[in-house]
Structures are given as C-alpha cells and as structure tokens.
Symmetry: C2
Subunit: 365 residues, 2 copies
C-alpha cells in the first residue's frame, strides 16, 4: 500500500537522482528501476540475511518488464564481509554471469551491501549505473544519500572506495518491520545526529516522539527518513566530494566512532551504537575546549538513552584508540580534525586538536 510517498531530490546537476520513501514501495521496484535505470540485465547484490527475505519480492516486481534478466548475487552478511576478498568474489561472479557495460547493479540490503554493491558498480568495467534499495534504517538515512561506496582495509575503515552516485533510491518503510530491535535503534543514532548538526527543530521533534518512533509508526518513519535524506542531500549537493569542508559536518562523532570500531575489530558495536558514543565523546571534547555548554551534551545523552542506545564507552586501551584515530582518513599529517557542536543544530569543523586532548573525551571526568 503505497498510500503516501515522499520524494527527495538530490540535486547533483548531471548526477541528480530521486529518493522515494513510503510504505509498500518494494512492490513497485521494477517500475521504479525501469524508469531511472532501464536495462536488459540487472545484477541484484544482497547478503545472506536480506536476500532470503526480500529478493523474491524484488524479482517479482520486475515480472512485468519484458526482456529484463535478473541475477542475484549474495555474500555473507556483516561488516566483516566488507573487504577486498569479498569484493573480488563479487567482481568475478559478475564476470561469470556475463555482466557487461550495459548491466545495472541493484543494491538490496543495509549499509554494507550498499557500500559493496556501490563499489562493485563504480569499478566493474570502470563503472556501471546502480540503484539502491536500502533495508535498514541506518542505510535509509545514511548510505542512500551521498554516493560514498567502498570497503575496509584490515588497518582502517572505508579506506578504499569511490564517490559513485546511484540513479535512484527506493526506501520501503515496511522493510523495517522485521529489523532486529538493536539494529533499528542503532539507525536512530544517525537520525539524532542530523538534529544535532543541522536542525534543532527536528531534534526537538525527535525528543517529543520517542514512543511512536520506537513503535516504528509508518507515518513517523516516513517523516523522519524524509527529513534526514533532505538534510543530507543539502549538504552533499554543497560539497559532493568532501572538498570544501561543508560535507565534513556529517562526520560528527565519527572520528571517535571509527576508532572505537577499529579497536574492537568491528565486533562489539553496531555502527550506530559507536556513533551514539562518538557523538557524546565529541560533545565532551567541545565542552573541554569551551565551545559548548554542558547541557548540550546532556540533551543528546538523554535522547540517546531514551531510545535505548549506549551512552557510556566501556573500558578500552586509550593508546590504541588514539593510534586508530591518527590513522583515520580525516587526519591531516598527524593533526586531528573534529566536528564539534556549538549548540543543538550547529557544528564547526575544528582542526589541530592534540591527540592528548582528544583522549580525555572518551570518558566523562
């Protein structure tokens, strides 16, 4: 029942595309993809969790399109698969099934699938069009806008990749119904992030609707996902390749988050959980630098806790965390760069923070 559909335009001149958001949209995927990326051969890339649940419905939605051949490729679910080895298998499978320059890639899954399928699309025969059908809240609000695709290296997250924009994104909010609670909540961390960095009114709206949000109310979901996509789209259009610094605001909490994920080998936290902790670390660092009032951190902490996200960093090796931070892509010649709030709704990019200063922010005084 695609009763109400929202559409967000990502206005990237010759790489512009639409994001459609609504309940029941998976049934219209064939039509949607046929419009924004018509082809005779599609490769659906998915994982072992998502494929069994949604790949059949996706393929069925293509039934009315004559002559369209669909192949489905699947890899083991989880961040641990986001590596060069799995990518090489995907490339080789694409070659085996006869993918060529006129093939279109469809990413069906969460953030890892979007990153992997997107990088496969960006690089197979030097670039194929692709369409994203995200199936997690995190992917809905984060990976579906921006064109960042890629894989991890053993020594660092997202170190290999590309900027590769999709031809279109289809978000079916019904797919979130079966999402495990922990994963759903992890996605809400990025939702909260948009409020902190760009939109106080949205943050206040979230504070007021934690209950329906946790109940996955379809109308609230459509509203929330649309607003996040819209906010991210504005930022990405202003700075597609992260060159002017505008786009950097999206990294709020992420320097801490990536260090946390690296040190715990991507096993202990879901990405959103690490983002939740990372935002609070960044806010504490901002406090320590005299850039923000204590209650700004408290307000974030309260909302994240109400949602059920972690708000306390466990005991970990501080030196290992610092070392991981210094290897982050956002590092410039050994000096740390952070995105720090001045209030709810505004952040600044702050350069040249010493590693020792950053280290104090992991745990409250």
């Amino acid at each position: 029942m695609a009763s109400q559909t929202s559409c967000v335009r990502v206005a990237l001149s010759d790489r512009a595309y639409d994001i459609q958001i609504g309940a029941g949209l998976l049934a219209t995927a064939g039509e949607f993809v046929g419009c924004c990326a018509a082809a005779k051969h599609y490769v659906v890339i998915t994982d072992g969790n998502v494929g069994p649940r949604f790949a059949d419905a996706l393929c069925e939605s293509f039934a009315s399109l004559e002559d369209a051949r669909l192949d489905v490729l699947s890899f083991t679910a989880g961040e641990a698969s986001k590596n060069i080895g799995s990518m090489q298998r995907l490339w080789e499978q694409m070659l085996e099934i006869g993918a060529d320059r006129s093939t279109v890639v469809i990413a069906l899954g969460g953030g890892v699938v979007g990153d992997m399928a997107g990088f496969a699309a960006a690089t197979f025969t030097r670039g194929l069009p692709f369409v994203q059908i995200p199936t997690t809240l995190l992917a809905d609000v984060d990976s579906s806008v921006g064109g960042k695709v890629g894989v991890n290296l053993p020594g660092g997250k997202n170190m290999v990749g590309a900027f590769w924009q999709p031809q279109g994104v289809l978000i079916d909010t019904d797919l979130l119904a079966s999402l495990p609670d922990r994963e759903y909540k992890a996605g809400l961390a990025e939702v909260v992030k948009y409020g902190v960095i760009l939109d106080e009114a949205f943050f206040a709206y979230l504070e007021g609707c934690v209950a329906p949000l946790l109940a996955r109310d379809p109308a609230v979901l459509r509203q929330v996902i649309s607003r996040c996509c819209q906010l991210k789209a504005e930022v990405v259009v202003a700075d597609e390749r992260e060159e002017t610094g505008v786009r950097a605001v999206l990294n709020y909490g992420h320097t801490f988050c990536h260090a946390l994920e690296t040190v715990t080998e991507y096993r202990r936290f879901l990405h959103g959980e690490a983002v939740s902790l990372g935002m609070l670390c960044a806010s504490r660092l901002a406090e320590d630098l005299g850039r923000v009032e204590r209650r700004v951190t408290a307000r974030q902490s309260d909302l994240l806790q109400a949602i059920g996200l972690p708000i306390e960093v466990p005991k970990l090796d501080g030196d290992a965390l610092t070392a991981a931070m210094l290897k982050d892509k956002k590092t410039r010649h050994g000096k740390l760069r952070f995105v720090l709030p001045t209030c709810i709704g505004h952040v600044d990019v702050v350069d040249g923070v010493s590693p020792d200063r950053a280290k104090k922010a992991w745990w409250p005084k």
Copy 2:
C-alpha cells in the same frame, strides 16, 4: 637538457591537464609536480624494473622542494602483477606509510604501473590526485592520456577500474634509451594505430621515417609522441567516459588483441605485439565485410613488419579465442562490436558482428 619541450593540453574542463614532452625532463619532475599537484606527501609507485633505474633521479628532483616527503612503493614488474592481490598490498602499504587525503600519487613506470598507481589513486580514501611519469613508449602514447586505470581479473583484462584523470603527465624521451628493443617496438604498434584510425598524413610520415624512429632519434620521438598524445586527447575530450562511441575508435585492433592476450595468459605477447596482430585481424575482418580494400591491410602489414612487429597470428585454439572475445567489456549482450577501417585515417564502430565471422579473421585465407 630540456632543449625543446612540447606541451599537449588535455582540455577536459575541470579535469584539464598538461602533458610535457621532451628530452631530460625527469630532472625537472619535482618542479613540474610541485606546480600541477603541490603536496607535502608524495607516494611514488613504481616496479622492480623501473624503480632501480629512475626512482633516485626522480626523488633528487624534489630536493629543492622544502617539506616534501616522498615514499617509494614498488611491486614486481609485469602484467602478471596487475591484479587485485598486488593492488591490495599497495593499498595496505599506503595506509602503513601514513598516506591520507592530502597525499599525491606519482606513477613512475610503464602501462602496468600507470594502471595500478592510477587505480590506487582513484580509490585510496576515495580518490587522490596523481601525476604520471611514463617510462615506456607504450605508456607515453597510450596510458598517459585518457584516465583509464585499473586491474585485470583472472577471467578478463581491465575488468575492474575507473576513469581517473591525472593532474599532469611528464614524458622524458631520454628514458626510452634503455628500453629493450622488443618493448620499444611494441610501443610503436600503438603509434601506428593512431595513423590508421585518425591521421593518414601521420601514417605516411611514419612510413617515411622508420629508420630514425628505430634509432630512437630524440627529435623524431618528441614529434611522434606529441602527435599521438594530441590525437588521443582530441578523442578523449570528445568522449571522456566512452559513452558516445567516439572514444571507441581507440580500441581498433583491441578486441582481437585482448582475446589473444587472454588465451595466451598475457605471457606470449607484449601488449603492443598483440595490438599489431589485432589491427591486422580487424583489417581482414573489414575486408571480409567489404568495408575496406585489401591494400589498406597490406600497407599496415608492411609498416608493422618494417618496424619488426609480428604480423602473423600463431596457431591457437579458435574456439578459445572466440570465447575470450565474448567476455570482453566491449561485448553487448553476446554480440560483438569491432572498430573497422574504411581507409588509412578513418575507422567506424561496427556492431552485431557474428562470432563465426570474426573467427575467420584470425588467419588470412
């Protein structure tokens, strides 16, 4: 002695760059790179053949640039290294030496180095600027214009890659002095190709100067390399991402060539040797289709033979060659596409050639 330097502009709007061509230019590399891609950290990527010969001279040319740190990474020379495994080692080494988003990559070597270093640059932290210093004739006239970078899969050449333009290209014709004879001649195959596809006068010029060309006369080399770069630049500017078909003319002989290389596992022929044979196959196919006169093939065959390039395809499995052809990136849904001459100086892209027809062209009747 950079007595005379030619400059070719590749006018790709916001990705425009210059190619400088002349004798002794390696000594000016630091200055050149400092102009077109200033940075504090450079990663020189080279191979085990080229590195020991030229890396020191390259690094020395940076001596006057204060604060510039250079790291040199090297991999085993040869097409066999152009794979995902070697690429992964490069990515990991870049991470280890602390390359970040403000690092610039310098490709020092032949085509394989350019392709590998270029793809490393295109993908490390989602894209770094890079500069090319080609050291073979083939790389001078082929890989230095066009932005095609990437690696092979076991099942197909150049199946994974990107379009990634350099910030500048420096061609020192003196570096060709030490090039083995066989490799130098292989480079001349691509030189001949430019004459066939785009410029009869240039083809005639080549017919008239085989002796000084084989003697590697510096003035003739500068002339020939500049003309090839110019011709390729015009094509690439008209069709950067191989979308309109214009750029396809550069693939003259290459469908046959790639099949030949795949079936012989990249071991038997240098790329240029396979191009020499591939052009003659394509010309014979054009004859068979009534598109060109026999003497056009003969004129190419004569020039290639005078240079010392192979003109007869050895006995190989015709079915294996056809199968390899059908896996080529230029294939569209099982139908073969060829670039075929109508005369010296003009080619057409011809679609829908049957595999059986193509098969007849491997050997003269």
